[in-house]
């Protein structure tokens, strides 16, 4: 039986870095899933995704639902006026993780919508779910995860998985 759900690539940082990037992503899968888990140098800023090196203003937007241990809120971000492209989490000195699902990432017909979840415990912890849009019909071939105000610490691991439908 052909493998349906398989790892494509993994990066584990051996020293601090402000970003992690996956390039030359194969278009042979139906969906791809990105996971990132680790620790950051500071509880500062956010981390976001840039797709295909696209930093065009207004090409990304995000709607999210979050709980911080006290209240539940919903927010929306558009990349037009922000320094970050497509938010998927917040770096924390306690452990944090995100998982993002890119359905139909390799089609050349529609914009790319993707779901993500984030969690981090501790003083600055959140439980978050979000949906993002990349206003571009190109197939996704690169994914870059970047911190806006700090760095991912050594040991932080990001992995890309591919899911192949029948």
């Amino acid at each position: 039986m052909a493998v349906t759900y398989e790892p494509i690539a993994t990066t584990t940082l051996s020293s601090g870095a402000s970003s992690i990037e996956f390039t030359s992503i194969s278009g042979s899968y139906t969906d791809i899933i990105l996971t990132i888990e680790g620790v950051a140098a500071a509880d500062s800023g956010q981390y976001y995704i840039t797709l295909n090196s696209d930093t065009t203003a207004n090409n990304y937007s995000t709607t999210l639902l979050q709980g911080d241990g006290t209240s539940a809120t919903s927010s929306r971000y558009n990349s037009g006026g922000n320094s970050y492209q497509s938010l998927i989490g917040w770096p924390r000195t306690s452990r944090f993780n995100s998982i993002a699902h890119f359905q139909n990432y390799s089609n050349n017909t529609t914009y790319k919508s993707f779901l993500w979840r984030y969690s981090a415990a501790g003083t600055y912890g959140y439980a978050v779910a979000g949906v993002n849009l990349w206003r571009n019909t190109n197939a996704i071939t690169t994914i870059k995860i970047t911190c806006t105000a700090t760095t991912f610490s050594s040991g932080t691991m990001a992995t890309l998985y591919g899911i192949k439908a029948a």
Partner: protein, 189 residues
Amino acid sequence: MILGIIASGITKSKLVTGSYESIATGTVAAGATSSVITFSSIPTDGTYTHLQLRMFARATAGDTMWVRFNNDSGSTNYDTHRLNGNGTSVGADARINYSALWVASRGYGISATSNIGTAIVMDVLEYASTNKYKVTRTLSGTELNTSNSDIEFTSGNWKSTSAINRIDVSISTSTLAQYTHIALYGIKA
């Protein structure tokens, strides 16, 4: 259920294969519409323990997605609880004793905006059990950069002890639009 995911660094020959398998895929071609996408003859012989639907859905007019099992449209056979955010406010409610599970229903519904789809992942746990009602867990999202955007958690309950052998996906008052893609996967315990 623990779905173990093995990261790369391990050669493919050592991977445990076959625990997550593709069962079938339904699509709506360019220029077409469809009133329903149906998955039938789903194995109930113990081949799989859980099911997962992974969807990129579009509608001809924005509205709620309906999911039904075994062609059951009994008026009181499904319950849905919903928690959502639209970028401004958080909401929650329930649909108790309805004729289908509701998905992506608190906001604008399934996207009808050109080039934009609604992303959905639905888990159906222990779908082949004949001792339990069937529970579902769904995360869905439509991002339009407007107040019609929606990120939504849904829990569902089909009040039947029958094993699920069929799943129908439709839009309540419109139809599935071009570029809709729904894939059904089976997960082995």
